[in-house]
């Protein structure tokens, strides 16, 4: 998904206010819920195409891109008008995507034909495809923009792709069904979650090798129920949050020791997450309970849950103060 992290990095330093706006894709309802982080309420529900999943703000904060897999396209929501205004030519069944730092190029994982599609965001045109493993899913880009990471779910690899040549330069085998990849902000480590393997692999991006693993153990829960998906990394790279799917918990991981320090009980089948730009809050999407949990990052406590549409999947938060809200 979109690095909540990279959004944070871009957060307009000038804006001191606290009202942000979050967009949540509801996979089953075919809608996007808009949440105001001041009142913690849903202010609008936007109708989109079929099966919305990956969702991300454009770098300029003007549009929200949402992958609507069953319509084989990515829709653009105008953040001012809060309606769908255009589509992007993704390949078939787009699920997750990432953009470069400049917000000019978009890379989309197309699960159905084992490719990553490259899209020029300004021209809204397709530039080409990169062949990867079976069922490409997780997408992220290195902080220097030189390396694109794609994880393939059935091949069980993180593919390192040189963004200049669009060639795969390395493949790193991780545990089963890798879903999501996230760089540390200092680019020293790449974290890859494995849903079925039940672990997070920590990859050295220079050596292209797994150098550590985060594993999870929750008393009273069998291993099979622990299925890591989304990862959020704080700006100082000291704390990682890992969504554990049907374990209904977010694991708080100390990145120095690579050990879990705490499990936060959230909603059912927690999937993805995003920080508010001020990093005070972390919002998670809980698919089965149809809500979004709000975590107070400093206190490491769940403070609220907000009902959204059916099967909330992805979430993105505007890089700055929301247009139309608290200007």
């Amino acid at each position: 998904m979109f690095g909540a992290a990279s959004l944070v990095a871009l957060a307009l330093a000038a804006t001191p206010a606290h009202a942000f706006v979050a967009y949540v894709s509801n996979e089953k309802s075919n809608t996007v819920s808009v949440i105001d982080t001041d009142s913690w309420t849903v202010t609008k529900t936007i109708k989109v195409g079929q099966r919305p999943r990956g969702i991300e703000f454009t770098r300029d904060g003007k549009f929200v891109m949402v992958a609507v897999g069953d319509d084989d396209t990515i829709q653009l929501i105008d953040a001012n008008k809060q309606t769908v205004v255009d589509t992007l030519p993704s390949g078939p069944d787009p699920e997750l995507f990432t953009q470069d730092a400049a917000g000019k190029t978009l890379y989309v994982a197309n699960e159905n034909d084992n490719t990553v599609t490259v899209i020029d965001l300004e021209k809204r045109a397709r530039l080409g495809d990169i062949q990867v493993g079976v069922e490409p899913e997780g997408m992220t880009i290195s902080p220097d923009g030189k390396t694109l990471i794609n994880t393939s779910e059935t091949t069980n690899m993180a593919h390192f792709i040189d963004t200049a040549s669009r060639q795969i330069v390395a493949n790193v085998l991780v545990d089963a069904r890798p879903r999501f990849a996230e760089y540390k902000h200092d680019a020293s480590e790449l974290w890859v979650s494995s849903e079925i393997g039940g672990s997070v692999s920590i990859v050295d991006p220079g050596k292209h090798a797994v150098i550590g693993k985060v594993t999870f153990e929750i008393p009273g829960l069998r291993k099979e129920a622990i299925q890591p998906v989304g990862i959020g990394m704080t700006k100082d790279d000291k704390t990682a949050f890992v969504a554990l799917g049907p374990a209904n918990r977010i694991a708080v991981v100390d990145t120095a020791t690579r050990k879990v320090t705490k499990y936060l009980l959230v909603g059912q089948r927690v999937w993805h997450m995003a920080f508010t730009p001020d990093e005070k809050y972390l919002l998670t999407t809980n698919g089965v309970s149809n809500d979004v949990s709000v975590i107070d990052v400093a206190a490491q406590k769940v403070i609220k849950s907000i009902q959204v549409g059916e099967l909330p999947w992805g979430i993105t938060i505007a890089p700055g103060i929301a247009p139309g809200i608290a200007r």
Binding site: D93, N112, G133, E135, T155, L173, E224
Partner: protein, 393 residues
């Protein structure tokens, strides 16, 4: 034997320079029986390539991964005709293939397993659901990707009990495998607290499955056959031979749902399964084979993916290394069932959730909520370690 050794040496040699030179060739054989069985429902009539089509897709999937790991998978298919010796066919396949996916009846599978034991070939049982292959007749060179009858019956039993349909009218066919399925259903009833209120046998008196005015006749026969039963919640049919079960829904004397061999059916896979990313798999299968994916296709796919998973993790095409890894504690495979699948180390049976399907939709997936186990909830399906009679050799 010498050829095999040479092959091994070749593989080992190639493995050391993976990626640099030619890819390591990993041969997978597929051994099945020629011809297809006849079903009552025309839409359920299996395709000629039932099973092997799933293996083919998994070979493609493995090869996509193989591009990055320097491994190339091939598939060689052989079908045994009536009266043909399965050992001969298996031996011929084993000449080039260290792994064989078998869709064979239990006796033929055992003969093949024993004949290939010294050769080191690793067999994957993709088709036979017989309990004895995992119990008294288990073999150290046979891994079971197919579920067992007891796993299927337990999956159904858990759901019926969860639904509080605990009074079952059991109708059993007259063939041996029908009786074995009925045994599994009785065992499930006893384990999960259901009651079989009565048993009836449906004798196979022969006759054609396709007739021009069959419906009229069946509509009269089935109510009569099911009348005067004690009070029951659900009619459970054990009819693996496809003689009568499909005729029961909507035709029973009492208005009751049907389960087992018709109505709500437990299966390892179904064309309607779309959870846990399965849609992509269904699409890939459809694209390659121009038809929908069956349980047998899935069992063969899983077997070939198990090989691919182990060869990529061990970075080797060596059969012994791969077999050791699959049988070891670190092995698991993802198969679009919402959880990792692992092997029961005491009898080499793949643990797996079982779908309950009605022909159009996936109604539920077992194990059901609340059926607990100290090791894995998947072990609430089928014979568990303490009950096992298997001694692997």
């Amino acid at each position: 034997m010498i050829r095999w050794l040479l092959g091994l040496i070749g593989l080992a040699f190639a493995a050391t320079q993976a990626l640099a030179a030619d890819p390591v060739e990993i041969g997978v054989g597929y051994l099945g029986v020629a011809g297809t069985r006849s079903t009552l429902s025309l839409v359920e009539q299996p395709a000629e390539n039932d099973g092997v089509a799933g293996a083919r897709l998994a070979i493609e999937d493995n090869n996509t991964t193989g591009k990055f790991t320097g491994q190339r998978f091939t598939l060689e298919e052989r079908r045994i005709k009536e009266g043909e010796d399965p050992v001969q066919a298996a031996t011929a396949l084993a000449a080039k293939n260290g792994f064989i996916i078998a869709d064979l009846p239990a006796d033929a599978l055992l003969k093949v397993a024993d004949a290939l034991r010294d050769r080191g070939t690793l067999l994957f049982n993709a088709g036979a659901i017989d309990e004895r292959l995992r119990e008294a007749d288990c073999r150290a060179n046979v891994i079971h990707a197919a579920p067992t009858r007891s796993m299927l019956a337990d999956a159904l039993g858990q759901y019926l009990v969860w639904k509080k349909w605990s009074r079952w009218l059991l109708v059993v066919g007259s063939h041996d495998e029908d009786k074995l399925y009925a045994d599994a259903i009785r065992r499930a009833a006893a384990r999960f607290g259901a009651k079989i209120v009565q048993e009836r046998t449906f004798e196979d008196t022969g006759g054609a499955r396709r007739t021009d005015s069959g419906v009229t006749l069946i509509q009269r026969q089935m109510p009569v056959f099911t009348q005067s039963a004690p009070a029951y919640d659900v009619l459970v049919a054990a009819d693996e031979s496809e003689v009568f079960a499909a005729y029961l829904p909507y035709r029973s004397w009492d208005p009751r749902p049907v389960a087992g061999s018709a109505g709500l059916v437990p299966r390892s896979w179904d064309a309607a399964q779309d959870q846990w990313g399965a849609t992509q798999m269904q699409n890939r299968f459809m694209k390659l084979n121009a038809r929908r994916m069956t349980a047998l296709d899935m069992q063969a796919w899983t077997a070939v993916r198990m090989i691919g998973e182990a060869t990529s993790r061990t970075n080797s095409g060596d059969v012994r290394k791969v077999a050791d890894f699959i049988k070891g504690p670190d092995f698991s495979v993802a198969a679009f069932k919402g959880t990792r699948l692992t092997l029961r180390d005491w009898n080499l049976q793949l643990r797996q959730p079982i779908l309950l399907v009605d022909g159009r939709m996936v109604v539920s997936v077992s194990p059901q909520e609340g059926f607990l186990h100290q090791v894995s909830e998947l072990d609430t399906l089928g014979y568990d370690r303490p009950e096992s009679k298997c001694k692997l050799k």
